[in-house]
Each structure stands twice: as structure tokens, then as C-alpha cells.
């Protein structure tokens, strides 16, 4: 088991190095950053001075090494647009995204558990069809549009909730609901199909013959086994949440990492983009590492 964990950590580090090389290479492909930073009246000497200051006059491997060294200190450089320290901006924005993301993941999980289990248990009834319809629509409708519609209905027409920004608990309602919709269809479909499989098994029949209450059979005996495939999906769907955060935070003007990234992309603020992408990469790799290890722990056949 220890060997398995160490191997996985090693692989994660290799992946991270590959990603950092890609990010670094693309930074150099994005054109001369000096031209973006220098004022329009700058002379050639000024440009050289900026290059010297940024270390851009060194060779590429040397630059990559400096880039890595700075990263290990948590130094991501400064934003081209606002001239602020990127690490500082990230730390400022991170809690907002974490609170939004975690609430949405929990809500999405709870809703999809209820919906998936109900639709499997009531297989073939109108409730099953209803859940399937929600899942199919949820996968097809663009979620940014869903967010806009939600704002139009609940904030503009009914005036129940604020349109955007954050502050009061009421500000959380719409972003959390729409963001949880990103993972809801996949989770619901997954729980439904694995629940259908488990409900058909011998040990559930035995539990029924034994005269156990249906409530116990469904929520304890069946769900325990049906939930295992969800673990693998959790790792992959974490990426969906990240994608969702970028879109939802943009629509709701939520001051988190996602909106920071979207704004930086539009203004081509490369230092901010590369820092955000690296940060997300680290988190995604870490989540998948944890999922892998948990899976190896739960199911010994996976260890290799």
C-alpha cells in the first residue's frame, strides 16, 4: 500500500512538471511581454532595462529554472494589468471560490443522491421520467444561460435575491444552485444506474425476505454499494466544478478565482492566467491523488 501511494505521488509530481513546462512554453509563445508592459513612449534602452529586470535576456532553460525557483517560493510575479503581486491577489480571491465550490459540491451530491436513488427505486414511474428529464436537460442546456435566466426570474422580475456580487447569505443562493447544476446530471445518472444494478442483487432480495424495512434496505444496504462508482466520478467531476466556477463567477460577478481567470484571459494578463492554471492543476492533481488512494484502500484490486 505504501509503495502504491509513493508511486502515485511520484506520478503526480511528474505530471505537475509537465504542466509547468507547458505553461512556461505558452508564456513565451504569447508574444513579447515587454511590449505589453512598457509604456508606448518607451525607448529601446527602456525595453532592454525591463528585459534585464524580468530576466528575459537569459537562455530559455535558465529562465525556466528561475521560473521554477520563484514558484517554489510562491512567487508568481506581478499582474500586467494591475501591477499587484499575483500571489497576493490569489490569496485574496481563493476563500470566495472555496466557499462557493464546496457548498455547491455538497448540495449537488445531496440532490443527486436523493434524485438518483428515488428514480432507481421508482423505476419506470413518472418520478423516474422526471429525474431523467432533468438530467438530460441539465446536460444539454448551456449552464451560463441557466444562470442568466435564474437572475432574470429571481432577481429582476421577482426581486427576491440580489443579481450579483457577494456579502449576505442571500448572495449565495443563485450561484450555488446554478453551480451545483454542473455536476448534478452526471452524478444522478451514475447513482441511478449503479443503484438499479445493486437493487437487482441477491443480497437485497435476502434483506427483503428477511422482512427488513424498505427504508433500511434502500438507504443503508443498497446505497453503500451503489456509492462506490461515485468515488471515481468525484475526481473527474472536480474538473467540471472548476470549469463551472469560471463561468458562474463571471455571470454573478463573484470575486473568486474563476472570475479573476476570465478577466485575466480577456485582458491577456499572462502572469495571472499561468498562476491560476498552476494553482488549479495542483488542486486537481491532489484531489485525484486522494481519490486514487481512497479507491485503492476501498478496493484492493486497484493497487498495482
Amino acid at each position: 500500500m505504501i509503495r502504491f501511494i509513493l508511486l502515485r505521488i511520484f506520478q503526480a509530481i511528474i505530471t505537475l512538471i509537465v504542466i509547468s513546462i507547458v505553461v512556461f512554453a505558452l508564456a513565451r509563445a504569447s508574444g513579447d511581454p515587454v511590449m505589453l508592459m512598457a509604456p508606448p513612449m518607451a525607448t529601446l534602452e527602456d525595453l532592454d532595462a525591463i528585459r534585464e529586470h524580468l530576466g528575459l535576456n537569459k537562455s530559455l532553460p535558465e529562465q525556466y529554472w528561475i521560473f521554477l525557483k520563484n514558484l517554489s517560493h510562491g512567487d508568481f510575479g506581478e499582474s500586467i494589468r494591475t501591477r499587484q503581486d499575483v500571489t497576493h491577489i490569489l490569496w485574496q480571491r481563493l476563500p470566495n471560490t472555496v466557499s462557493l465550490g464546496l457548498t455547491s459540491i455538497v448540495l449537488g451530491l445531496v440532490l443527486s443522491l436523493i434524485m438518483g436513488v428515488t428514480s432507481a427505486y421508482k423505476f419506470g414511474t413518472w418520478m423516474d421520467s422526471g429525474v431523467k428529464l432533468i438530467a438530460i436537460l441539465g446536460q444539454a442546456l448551456p449552464s451560463f444561460w441557466l444562470a442568466i435566466v435564474a437572475i432574470a426570474i429571481f432577481a429582476v422580475w421577482l426581486g427576491w435575491l440580489p443579481t450579483s456580487g457577494m456579502g449576505t447569505p442571500a448572495h449565495f443562493v443563485l450561484p450555488v444552485l446554478t453551480l451545483s447544476f454542473f455536476s448534478l446530471p452526471i452524478f444522478t445518472r451514475l447513482i441511478r444506474s449503479s443503484m438499479l444494478e445493486v437493487l437487482d442483487s441477491e443480497y437485497i432480495k435476502l434483506a427483503r425476505i428477511k422482512g427488513l424495512a424498505e427504508k433500511w434496505i434502500i438507504w443503508k444496504h443498497a446505497l453503500r454499494n451503489a456509492i462506490i462508482p461515485l468515488l471515481t466520478a468525484a475526481g473527474i467531476s472536480f474538473g467540471t466544478i472548476v470549469t463551472g466556477a469560471v463561468i458562474i463567477e463571471t455571470v454573478f460577478a463573484w470575486p473568486g478565482i474563476g472570475r479573476l481567470l476570465a478577466e485575466a484571459v480577456v485582458s491577456r494578463d499572462y502572469p495571472v492566467v499561468q498562476a491560476t492554471v498552476l494553482l488549479v492543476a495542483i488542486v486537481v492533481l491532489f484531489v485525484n491523488l486522494v481519490v486514487d488512494i481512497t479507491y485503492g484502500y476501498v478496493d484492493p484490486r486497484i493497487r498495482y
Binding site: 505558452l26 448551456p142 435566466v149 474538473g239 476570465a262 480577456v266 485525484n288
Partner: protein, 290 residues
Amino acid sequence: MENAGLGSKVAKYWKAFCRFPVIPITIMTFMVFVAIFANVISPYLPDEMSLVDRLTPPFFMSGGSTAHLLGTDNLGRDILTRIFYGARISLSVALLVIAICSAVGTTLGMIAGYLGGRIDSFMMRVTDAALAFPALLIALLLGVALGPSFFTVVLALSALGWAPYARMIRGEIIKLREEDFIAQARVIGSGPITILTKHIFPNIVNTLVVLMTMSVGLVILVEASLSFLGVGVPPPTPTWGAMVSEGRDKFATAWWISLFPSLAIGLVVLSGNFLGDWIRDKMDPKLRQL
């Protein structure tokens, strides 16, 4: 599983297509038609502005006129025309991306599955990483580095999109590799390339077609999200995602600007998903867990 000839394959496809889902196929055919003939059937030019007619509502509302069936946007551009032209972008991006991803993914999957061993496990780790990483992030990164263009969008969507193909095809190859007919082909002296292309490939076509159809909706959705965030195909080319974004602030008063393009996205994605599900059930039911 035998090495099926071309004739029996066609017969099987024909059988599958006999009971087809009418509505999704109609929608898809209509969209393809619209995309190809956008310049013929559109009543206006996509960037033709008319400030007198700005924010005209659709024809069924008071104040609307049949001159602009679905109304106009903030600059007086005809929404219907822009949706027709937007179909070009969405569908051509989807077509190109799926072609690239399936070609790259199949090749890698075949190599990994056939060779096995170290190469296989290395390639599968790379595939795992590509699967876990959010595609939108790489797309945004590329959008910034290379600047927004049609080519950037295609590249960005293909950058990680090959991974599901590689993973699935590799699994199929590993199963097929041990079959008797492959061993027999080896006995008569066929090289690895002949075996892969002539004996193995015909047996994975079904899986490949299913995967390709199922990804149409996803590709169109991600493309729309990119345009929505401002890193898609740049203006003045009309894209559905960008149209939704333009109408965003006016949704309470001029909802038609973003409603109709998002309906177009929803309809295409929905029919793509239905077609994918249906083809999967017909041709490769064991993929149902997907």
C-alpha cells in the same frame, strides 16, 4: 467477434437506422443545412447594422415585425441571420475537433493497447492526467497565449479531447489482442501494422462511431462557453456563445437577444446527445455506463 466484411457491416448499419429517432435527426439535418447555406437563406448580412431597428422584439410580440423574425440586438443586427451564421462556427468546430481527437486518440489507444507493458502504462498515466484536467483551463491558456482565432479554438478543444478515445480504444484492443483470429493472422506472418489496420480496426469501428456521436454535444457546449467568456472565434464572426453573452445585461428587457441563441445551443446539444444514446444502444450496448 469475426472480422466482418464491408457488406455485412453496411447491412447492420442500415438495420440500425431503420427505426431512427425522427426529431433529433430532423433538428441535426436542419442545422447542418442552415450552416452550409447560411449565406443563401439568411435575410440579412450577419454584421449588417441598422440603428433605427435596434432592440426590435420578435415578430409575435407587440412592436415586432416580420422583417426581423426573431428580433434584433443592441446594434440592430438580425438575430435569425446571426444564429444561421453561428451554426457554421459551432458545427465546423465540432466536426474538426472530433475528427482530430478521434484520429489522435485512436492511434494512441491502438499503440498503447497493442504494445502493452511500460509504454502502455506510461501512455495511460498521461491519458489519466488529460482526463482529469479541466479542458476549459487549457483552452483559456491557449486562448491567451496564441490569441483568439478559429484555429486556437480547434486546437484548444483538441488539446485534451483525444484522451477519452485513447482510453476506450485501448481497452477494446486489449480484449481483441488475445482473440484467436489475431493469433492466426500472426501465424500467417502479418506484421503489427497489417494486424492493427486490417484485423483490429474493423472491430473497433462501432465503439469509435458511438464515442464520436456522443461527444458532439459536449464539444459544442465547450465551444459556446469559450465564446461566452470571450476567447472563442473573435468578433465580428457571430457565435452562439458570444451572442448569449452580448444579451446578458439586457435579459430582463430584451430577453430575445440571448434566449434564441441559447435555445439553438440547447437543441443541437440535446439532439446530439439523443443520437449518441441511440446509436450506442443500437451498436454497442455495453458502453451504457458511459
